[in-house]
Symmetry: C2
Subunit: 460 residues, 2 copies
């Protein structure tokens, strides 16, 4: 059967959905035209259909899912963004959810199960065939963000004494029962231990009578069910994998992870660093005002505390400022530039740690580099800031003080930008979380202390 | 042939290289033992071998490459990080570079060619077979970061009237001439226009006598040689692709992109946003002090300028500060919290734009959400900061002033955190670049202006 007759509804290079189609969809929901809805969505690629549904106002979206009920294809359900998927699962009847669990690959089914409240999950699992139920429960038993959660239990494994021809005939006899997409087959011994891997491309170019044992290669990856998703993604990236086998603690082959899931993990992890460094705990286009407040207020509260530490430092020099107001005008310059220099070093260090480029000798080189470049930049900006202050306030001593404070703050910023994340890593903490608050507080304190302190010593 | 006899030198879950092996490597370089070097490196996975070489001090690395010369496997060369690869290409003799170009897939060969200076590139290209030379020059003619640059010209394409059996026999007869890894074959018409795609998994499970035209599916992606890598990555992610065909402007199939290159692009793009938001232009563990200074000084210079704008605002209220020193002590609190709130909104907006979640109605919703959550957080922190100020300075009017300034600054921060990136996007600029400087300057100016302005009106 060919799919060529099914027109694609939206050009892939314009992810924005077709406004006319969206209007039709809204009309169909108003008229409760479930047949038109089901047919239109089924004709589209699930990813495009999900985009279209997500473009609906939230209420209309829920209504659409309610009208569709069991007619909402499960491959569209799984393509929806988290908040929409959760809403849809909420609205769908139990039978429709059970059906989706049945149809989806095990990794996707686990995602749906996670959305359910405990009681409802129990009820729906009870309705499934005992084998499916056991398999899904095993998936849920793995830690979140572990390889066990991400893997699918559908894969192709054959014994090593088989030939290429045997493997191809086996695949043909299974036909539609095989996973829809896979890139390699696994060679196992009778105890289900992984012996090797044969890429489909290799299988294809090898004569029928060659034994699989003679063309299999050793797995490049080494993934167990309890491995963290970040470590798994690292292996995918390092060895350019499209898929990889997953073993349990006894070394038996139990699942397969495909690269599309890893792409999401890699983006997620990079985003997490970004969010942590800029003090947001999460972000979703569908977040409500309340979600947004909750995800940001805690870090603002921490910042409130650190900001008053900086104020405390300033208040130590109240008398000095009282006599020279120019100090109050200039002190934010030292703090702003120092803070900027510190976060520049920090972001580089955090990404280098995440990409595992900062081990041993590399870390020592990086510390030296940060201090030296802090010195060079500090010297340049000490001269620059000093010159501007001289032009503005016509006070040589004042410009000397701000220049010296600048250099001290830059050196300090360079040092804390690298040592704080390395220190957090050594303590076993995520170097992205909290480090920017630390670094900014450290630089603020040093900026105000050095500038106002030197001013007190030299200008009074 | 089986690869099972070759032991892996380093466990994939510990990316740090084996220190003992590293010592042996350094000794071998000292003794110029090219045979041991070549044999050891060839026995490892190229990615592991590259990690090992990158762990060497820079001078020893160059020496190792020099000793190896043409014995450095080209698949290790291409796994090296940019700065190391450039250094290696610099050190290698012309014949070794020409050899690598010959052995590598076209997308990798283009990367090596880019490293060469014009004159040397001409000289080396002259030495290649005319066909290879023409192909490489065509690759170089595509824009950087375009699909044309990323694609490899090695792929499998067959006519639609072929059967499954025909395709498999063809693959077997080509054997080693086929690309080492591919996940799908392309079905073309006589003019090389793409008719459809057959996944290898589909090919495998289909009986020999079925025609390819009957099992091919329409390509999900639509990638042309001039498409930007970010748009290509977006299609890979949306449709969960392992590889995708690339067409030229006339619609002819000219290349294939595989997901491993896209994984790098996705990480690169996420990193670019991170770096832009934190004002660093680039970062590499192997950057020198000079690279580091150059990548950071421009943004510090911009910050120098904006910091003095903030100073200018403060100096407007010199007289007020002169009479109430507490203002100088408290003003950094308003600026710090406002800046933090602004960058929180900004990072969420920038990532939402990059992931194409902020179009049309979604953008309007996001603006409303940012203003409202700015209001809610602003109210909470206005009360908090006001209370602390009251406790500290025992001045009700002062705490009223700082509370009001806080609320105004939070509303302003929420608005600029979303409008600045949306505005930059509308202007066709990258919303990540420069927006954090804008937002921080806007919030600083508003923080100082509202706090000191209100103080002048109410407290004097």
């Amino acid at each position: 059967m060919t799919d060529l007759s099914t027109p694609q509804q939206s050009a892939p290079e314009t992810p924005n959905v077709d406004p006319a189609l969206l209007d039709n969809l809204i009309d169909a929901v108003d008229e409760k035209d479930s047949r038109w809805l089901a047919r239109t969505l089924q004709r589209m690629h699930p990813a495009d259909a999900a985009d279209l549904l997500e473009a609906l106002p939230v209420d209309t979206f829920s209504e659409a899912v309610e009208i569709l009920g069991g007619e909402l294809p499960s491959d569209i359900l799984i393509e929806l963004r988290d908040s929409y998927r959760e809403e849809a699962v909420d609205v769908l009847p139990d039978t429709a959810v059970a059906n989706a669990l049945d149809e989806l690959d095990s990794d996707d089914a686990t995602v749906i199960l996670e959305d359910l409240e405990d009681e409802r999950r129990e009820r729906i699992l009870d309705d499934l065939a005992p084998f499916d139920r056991a398999q899904l429960e095993r998936g849920l038993a793995y830690e979140e963000e572990s390889a066990g959660r991400l893997m699918q239990t559908e894969f192709v494994a054959v014994p090593e004494y088989w030939t290429v021809g045997h493997a191809i005939d086996h695949a043909r006899s299974l036909g539609e029962e095989l996973p829809e997409i896979f890139y390699e087959i696994y060679i196992i011994d009778p105890a289900y231990r992984l012996m090797g891997i044969v890429q489909l491309a290799t299988l294809l170019r090898t004569p029928r009578d060659v034994q699989l044992a003679d063309i299999m290669t050793e797995p490049l990856s080494d993934i167990t069910t309890d491995m963290d998703q970040e470590a798994v993604a690292f292996q995918f990236q390092k060895y350019s994998l499209a898929s990889a086998p997953v073993k349990d603690s006894a070394g038996r082959l139990v699942g397969m992870i495909t690269v599309d899931d890893m792409v999401d993990v890699i983006q997620e992890e990079a985003n997490e660093d970004l969010f942590s460094l800029l003090n947001v705990t999460s972000a979703d286009g569908a977040d409500t005002v309340w979600d947004t407040v909750r995800s940001r207020a805690p870090w603002l509260a921490v910042n409130l505390f650190t900001a008053f530490i900086a104020s405390g430092i300033i208040s130590l020099f109240e008398g000095t400022i009282d006599r020279i107001v120019a100090l109050a005008i200039l002190m934010p310059v030292v703090a702003a530039l120092g803070g900027n220099a510190g976060s520049q070093g920090l972001v580089v260090a955090v990404r280098a740690i995440a990409e595992r480029q900062l081990d041993g000798a590399a870390a020592r080189r990086a510390i030296l580099r940060e201090v030296l470049s802090g010195f060079v930049n500090g010297l340049m900006f000490a001269v620059g800031v000093g010159a501007i202050a001289m032009l503005w306030f016509r006070d040589f001593k004042l410009s000397l003080v701000i220049g010296a404070a600048m250099l001290i703050t830059f050196l300090w910023a360079g040092l804390s930008g690298i040592l704080v994340p390395l220190g957090l890593k050594k303590l076993g903490a995520d170097p992205a979380v909290a480090s920017s608050v630390f670094v900014l507080t450290l630089t603020d304190v040093m900026a105000f202390f050095s500038f106002l302190g030197l001013a007190t010593l030299i200008l009074l």
